[in-house]
Symmetry: C2
């Protein structure tokens, strides 16, 4: 398969969850305009995304939900699943771990890391918290490929470097400090303050 745009991957993740919901309601086929309605996008966009992953529906019947879910799974998930760690088990880290626990079968959170002695050795939502200094060892032993970073701002860069040194393959960074990784590590950053300020700006704009 050729190149799939980032935006398409994001939408596929969302389609899958919408489809799972439809499936649980007993639906078995769905039209592009129905998916579009749920996601508040256009039907063409849906069709184009599915075209890009090579899925083809049946004319006038739409897409087979079960099949499409499986195909999206083949694209996004890796067969054996991937292991995820949370680094920094503070307020945000704990919320995430609780939320994600058993949410996606192919993405298991298998470890937390922190530097606070009061947290090390304890379990959070069933996940053991290790000392940050053991991170390289644990990432290798447990074959962890993805890290979610929720550490204090001023620790961000050093910890990202440590993750890279430990052989991590992908990082989702929730701190507001941009990090730098080599080409063979995939990086996704989300900055909540930016989101809120963006809303604030456009709200002002609309009012004006």
């Amino acid at each position: 398969m050729k190149h799939i745009p980032h935006k398409t991957i994001e939408r596929l993740s969302q389609y899958r969850r919408a489809l799972l919901l439809c499936l649980s309601k007993g639906k078995d086929h769905i039209f592009s305009h129905e998916i579009a309605k749920i996601q508040h996008i256009t039907p063409v966009q849906v069709r184009r995304d599915l075209m890009l992953i090579g899925y083809t529906g049946t004319l006038r019947k739409g897409y087979k939900i079960q099949e499409l879910i499986e195909l999206i799974g083949e694209i996004i998930d890796s067969k054996e699943g991937q292991k995820v760690a949370i680094v920094g088990i503070g307020n945000l880290g704990r919320a995430i771990i609780k939320y994600f626990k058993n949410k996606r079968p192919k993405l298991a959170i298998v470890a937390a890391f922190d530097s606070d002695p009061k947290k090390i050795g304890k379990k959070f939502s069933g996940v053991t918290c290790y000392n940050i200094s053991d991170m390289p060892k644990e990432i290798k032993n447990q074959n962890i490929t993805i890290a979610i970073m929720t550490v204090p701002d001023d620790r961000t860069i050093e910890i990202a470097d440590l993750l890279v040194k430990s052989g991590i393959k992908g990082i989702l960074n929730f701190t507001p400090r941009p990090i730098n990784v080599p080409d063979n590590v995939f990086l996704e950053e989300y900055d909540m303050t930016t989101s809120i300020e963006k809303v604030a700006f456009y709200v002002k704009d609309v009012q004006a």
Copy 2:
């Protein structure tokens, strides 16, 4: 001023925080390539963004940090500030309220809303939690313009509708259920599961 792209607004929010940090370290001027280095983008992008907001630096001196911070403030913030509410004070809502408390002077979190009797009337990080049924009244009385939604998935749509009816101007939706708002309400959605699945996909891609 003409139209500013969404992406530029996002970067401006980030520049401002980077600049505040530099300022606190005693720096008073900065070059486009220095900002670029911090943000891991190109210097051209920085210059273009600043061009779009009409800021002009001095040749061979760079940009005056203090001035630039103020200009970005004039663009993003509204003069009198805006009031923000958190809807759904569960794990994520509590983490956010704690995090944002006093973080941005022009964006004050002034209310939380929930339906759980055990939470109503209590304070969270100093912010009072009201009954969701009082939301329309409170939004109007306190002149709240922005809402952050962290409610259970299956309540998302009804609560978004209630927010719109209450006259909200902007919504930041953290639930995975897409919502629909009229044109005069600005909507920003962030879906954490999508982010993680995106990382998972590209990690697999790199390995393959």
